[in-house]
């Protein structure tokens, strides 16, 4: 469903992505592991198109999208959430979700009908809000909702885009154990055919939800296999646990 072949990216002398190849099957839950600075977020940026790769190929559903723009890739069903909240400031939670849902439903550019009161959009917004637990906060401006809710909205925006491939960058960072639990439930409730790649620091979560684990270090893929093998791999243990930053 999502494939990267030999992706390369450098900033000056610093190589942040070094010949990364990745193949994620339809419906698969893939977890990306790696220490800080391993190039996980950069890889997401490359996959989504926010960064241009120096070399290599990206395919969605077998189609080469390397030359496509960010929005064109998104229209093929690729969505992402961010490690740092990247919301529509100044707008309410409902307005935030509506913008995403309207894009997904082709209502974002109609100059006659209001997307905010469109029934299809509103239903999608309500559904996503319920999934991520924001129903109570729909009418509140995002700048005044608690941090945990903003994290959930971050994921909600990506979900409201009705993706086929969903990239989530540390969706549980900064939220307490209760939030992590709720996130587990959310993940389990997502449609089985949705392809998901998660960057995660929480090992337990990673091993619990992952069908397969990819470990990055210094911009290179150092491990790719089932979670059990990852857990047992001395290499992964050394790289990952050695630099484990519990507060991250």
């Amino acid at each position: 469903m999502l494939e990267a072949r030999d992706l390369r990216k450098s900033f000056g002398a610093l190589t942040v992505t070094n010949r990364v190849s990745l193949e994620v099957a339809r419906g698969e839950r893939r977890v990306l592991l790696g220490p800080n600075g391993a190039g996980k977020t950069t890889l997401f940026n490359l996959l989504v198109g926010e960064l241009r790769a120096d070399g290599g190929q990206i395919l969605i559903d077998g189609r080469d999208v390397t030359g496509l723009s960010v929005d064109a890739r998104a229209r093929l069903g690729l969505a992402r959430s961010y490690q740092k909240n990247n919301l529509f400031g100044g707008l309410t939670v409902r307005e935030n979700l509506s913008l995403a849902a309207a894009c997904a439903q082709g209502r974002a550019r109609t100059p006659w009908a209001d997307s905010l009161s469109d029934r299809g959009v509103a239903e999608a917004v309500d559904e996503v809000a319920q999934r991520v637990g924001l129903t109570e906060l729909l009418e509140v401006p995002v700048d005044t909702v608690p941090y945990g809710a903003r994290r959930r909205l971050e994921v909600g925006l990506a979900l409201a885009a009705r993706p086929r491939v969903l990239l989530m960058d540390e969706p549980t960072s900064g939220i307490g154990p209760g939030g992590i639990h709720a996130f587990h439930a959310l993940l389990r409730g997502l449609p089985a055919e949705l392809t998901i790649v998660i960057v995660e620091h929480d090992m337990d979560l990673a091993f619990e939800v992952a069908d397969r684990v990819t470990v990055l270090n210094y911009g290179e893929v150092v491990f790719d296999g089932p979670p059990r093998e990852a857990r047992d791999s001395a290499l992964v243990r050394e790289i990952y646990l050695g630099t484990w930053d519990g507060d991250a």
């Binding site: 529509f88 400031g89 550019r109 109609t110």
Partner: protein
């Protein structure tokens, strides 16, 4: 996002009522001022549409206005096509020029966008200033007014023309408000709030920005066609960046991103300048001090301040006094 609140509706109706009452009671020059305000209000609304809601602070709206005026002028004076064709040319020409500017500047932001739009506006100005076909800096005289006798209107009558411009200003407001309440308008606000995220959600952002700029340009072109008919003469001065600058001042003074504030700002600035210059040649000094005072007094613009006070009163009435009023000012995302 844009909401046509009762306060907004009341302000629009109040302003329109005041304008009509003033028009019916004033002398000849008052009507000239009223017409100018109505035309500038259309232009200011066009600017607020992209600047206040799309985050595209343009310094080329004077040029779009001038392109509209020149399109009308060349269609009627040079080509002899008649005013309806001229009007269509003005609206279309403004839209086309604006769309093109919006498309090529879509990647720039903030001051870079401001300066990029300035560059295109000044190029158009310099071209018309030196172009003999369009009369160079002497401009084009003899621009006719639309013959609306079929509707029973004599546009050569000052009062009728002023009220027609006023009606068109109301129409421009209504069209803009409707657009801002559509999916298109919501998305435009989304772009202002977070353009990158909008793109990641699958929106072809540059096309949207260019389209919004095009709509704004169409309104600016309409204003230009009215200005050409108002003075029955056009000159390159219409396109100069200082026109765009003064326009931006009107919009900010009235309240950026409030739509009705744009019209209010146009009225206040024109009448302020007129009243002050009755007493002194140094009206720049007084207007300058008023602008500075306006910022020091709140910095939300006139309508913005009104809305702020209104909402605080409503909040105070609704909630017990110990709860501080929610400050609607936001500073982007956490």
């Amino acid at each position: 996002m844009f909401h046509q609140t009762p306060l907004k509706t009341a302000t629009v109706l109040l302003l329109a009522g005041l304008a009509v009452a003033y028009g019916l009671s004033t002398g000849f020059f008052g009507l000239e001022l009223l017409t100018e305000v109505a035309i500038l209000a259309i232009l200011a609304i066009a600017l607020d549409l992209v600047a206040g809601y799309g985050g595209m602070i343009s310094l080329c709206h004077g040029a779009l206005y001038g392109v509209g005026a020149y399109a009308f002028g060349s269609a009627t004076v040079l080509l002899g096509w008649g005013a309806p064709a001229g009007l269509a040319m003005a609206v279309g020409g403004g839209a086309l020029f604006a769309w093109a500017i919006g498309a090529v500047t879509a990647r720039t932001h903030g001051i870079f966008f401001i300066m990029a739009t300035l560059a295109f506006g000044q190029m158009a100005y310099a071209y018309l200033f030196e172009s003999p076909v369009f009369g160079g800096n002497d401009g084009l005289p003899g621009v006719p007014r639309l013959d609306a006798s079929a509707l029973g209107l004599d546009l050569n009558d000052s009062l009728t023309f002023a009220l027609t411009c006023l009606a068109l200003a109301l129409l421009a407001y209504a069209v803009s408000a409707a657009l801002l309440r559509s999916g298109f308008g919501r998305t435009l606000v989304g772009i202002r709030a977070n353009e990158a995220r909008m793109r990641v959600l699958g929106l072809p952002v540059w096309r949207h920005k260019a389209a919004a700029f095009g709509v704004s340009g169409a309104l600016a072109g309409l204003a230009g066609a009215l200005a050409a008919q108002h003075t029955m003469y056009i000159s390159p001065g219409l396109l100069h960046w200082t026109v765009s600058g003064e326009l931006l001042i009107m919009v900010i003074l009235g309240g950026l991103g409030t739509l009705v504030g744009a019209a209010l700002g146009a009225g206040v600035l024109v009448f302020l300048k007129h009243e002050v210059s009755r007493f002194t040649d140094h009206w720049h000094l007084v207007v300058g001090l008023v602008l500075i005072a306006a910022v020091l007094a709140g910095g939300r613009g006139l309508y913005g301040q009104l809305e702020h006070l209104w909402e605080r009163r409503r909040a105070a009435r609704r909630a017990p006094p110990e709860t501080p009023a929610p400050d609607e000012e936001t500073t982007g995302h956490a």
